[in-house]
């Protein structure tokens, strides 16, 4: 078994089939970019791994532990909340809309989970949070409220906050889509750093193709709830095999 396993996963919202019996896996430490037209199921994949969206059928496993199921003898039964909690504790996610907690200052946004989930002492958590804020270039914003920060700054805080929970798997859901291109660049620089300096497994949904090429070692092309192409970035961007992929990449690259 590999590190992350999607097996025969389906999801529909009403009549709309978002994921159609799809299977794929990800190795530990891999950086995988999910591309494809909107509505093709990329974000749903991330939300399922974070347990924010439940699959209709199929299984998802992290390191041989099912996210939505538990083994009972030879059977798979729906997971208890405690089991799901335990398995997802290795995963965290950064969102398109940042989702910082507006009632907390920046520092507490970053220390909240280390203190109340990892059980760290406040001093230790504060120190680590300041290191992370320095890494994202915001050491002087620790005592600001999120509403006092620009969008790009908020997203960088969100990245620091995600790293503070010491994840094995980092999910990035269109983290620059709500930002101006110039501001997006500063966020992508931070993420390049993260990719370079850590061995965290990354799944990212993005339309920033150059960034995808820089940080990922694998690209999955989604279309109508299926993966239609799975290749290394050089291959995917230079010599796409599938007609649909060619058309999609052409439209995205023209946009930029």
């Amino acid at each position: 078994m590999s590190f992350i396993d999607f097996t025969d996963v389906s999801k529909r919202f009403g009549d709309n089939v978002v994921l159609d019996d799809m299977s794929f896996n990800v190795a530990n430490g891999e950086r995988v970019t999910l591309i494809g037209p909107s509505g093709s199921g990329k974000t749903t994949i991330l939300r399922m791994l974070m347990t924010l969206t439940k699959p209709d059928s199929g299984t998802i496993a992290i390191d041989d532990e099912y996210l939505w199921h538990e083994r009972r003898g030879d059977d798979l039964v729906p997971a208890s909340e405690a089991h799901t909690r335990k398995v997802r504790s290795r995963v965290t996610m950064v969102f398109q809309q940042f989702n910082l907690f507006p009632n907390m200052k920046v520092l507490r946004n970053v220390t909240e989970a280390p203190i109340h989930v990892l059980g760290k002492q406040k001093d230790e958590a504060d120190e680590r949070a300041r290191e992370l804020l320095e890494m994202v270039g915001l050491q002087d914003k620790a005592d600001f409220y999120p509403s006092q920060l620009s969008g790009g700054q908020q997203q960088r805080v969100a990245i620091a906050r995600a790293l503070a929970v010491e994840p094995d798997i980092l999910l990035l859901d269109e983290v620059t889509s709500a930002l101006d291109p110039e501001i997006a660049a500063e966020v992508l620089d931070v993420l390049r750093d993260v990719a370079k300096t850590s061995d965290v497994t990354m799944l990212l949904v993005t339309h920033a193709m150059r960034f995808a090429r820089d940080v990922s070692n694998r690209v999955l092309m989604f279309n109508e709830g299926k993966i239609i192409e799975d290749a290394a970035p050089e291959q995917m961007f230079n010599e796409p095999q599938h007609e649909r992929t060619k058309a999609f990449l052409k439209s995205v690259l023209e946009e930029v």
């Binding site: 974070m50 504790s89 965290t92 969102f95 809309q97 907690f101 009632n103 909240e112 109340h116 995600a162």
Partner: protein
């Protein structure tokens, strides 16, 4: 008919005593409504059906029946079931329970006003359920609720005269006692009404200040 100032001055101390009782009923009853309303709102959102369903039923039942009948029940029926409350205690419980069903709706709206992304982020950070409520959701939901909650303090205060039905000595009850002795209703009833008006005006003034302060916060 002429307003008799001497008579008015004579009965003023009794009416002020009554006003004090009304204020106690308001403050304590409102405190009960604030706390119990939050408990109701959280219980109705519980994943445990055996909690959310009965609490939902009780809340709808209390909200759907008149306060006056609830007061009668608390003061005249409960003693027959072995639980005797003083008039003021029954009044406070009645007002508190009744208004808790209104405040619970205010809290519910405040909780639902917290963007779904906040829940997503709390899950992504693995925060324990209790912590999500105490450090993320309620600190955002409660400030949003404060203007509407303040308005219910005024409404509750204006319902205090209903306690006349269970002999709580608030200004209206006191006034009726005076009339029974003097057969002169004009001054006592007018003064009781004016006392209520004065306090209601102060409360709505406070309400407006609170509203102005929290309106900005709710949209920020």
């Amino acid at each position: 008919m002429k307003f008799d100032w001497n008579y008015a001055l004579d009965i003023l101390p009794q009416l002020l005593d009554g006003l004090l009782t009304a204020l106690i009923a308001t403050v304590v009853g409102y405190a009960v409504a604030l706390v119990l309303g939050l408990v109701f709102a959280l219980a109705r959102r519980s994943h445990q059906k055996w909690v959310s369903v009965p609490v939902g039923f009780v809340v709808e039942f209390i909200r759907g029946t008149p306060l006056l009948i609830q007061l009668f029940f608390l003061f005249f029926v409960l003693p027959q079931l072995g639980l005797a409350l003083s008039p003021l205690a029954a009044g406070i419980v009645g007002l508190g329970l009744h208004y808790a069903t209104y405040t619970s709706e205010v809290y519910r709206a405040g909780i639902e006003g917290v963007p779904p992304g906040q829940w997503d982020a709390a899950i992504a950070l693995h925060l324990p359920r209790r912590r999500v409520w105490t450090s993320v959701i309620l600190p955002q939901a409660v400030p949003r609720s404060i203007p509407a909650l303040t308005n219910y303090s005024i409404a509750l205060f204006k319902d205090v005269p209903q306690l006349v039905a269970i002999t709580v000595a608030e200004p209206f009850t006191v006034g009726r006692g005076i009339i029974a002795e003097t057969f002169r209703p004009f001054e006592p009833i007018t003064m009781a009404g004016l006392l209520y008006l004065a306090v209601a005006l102060v409360l709505s003034y406070i309400g407006r200040i609170v509203e102005r302060r929290y309106k900005g916060m709710a949209t920020a």
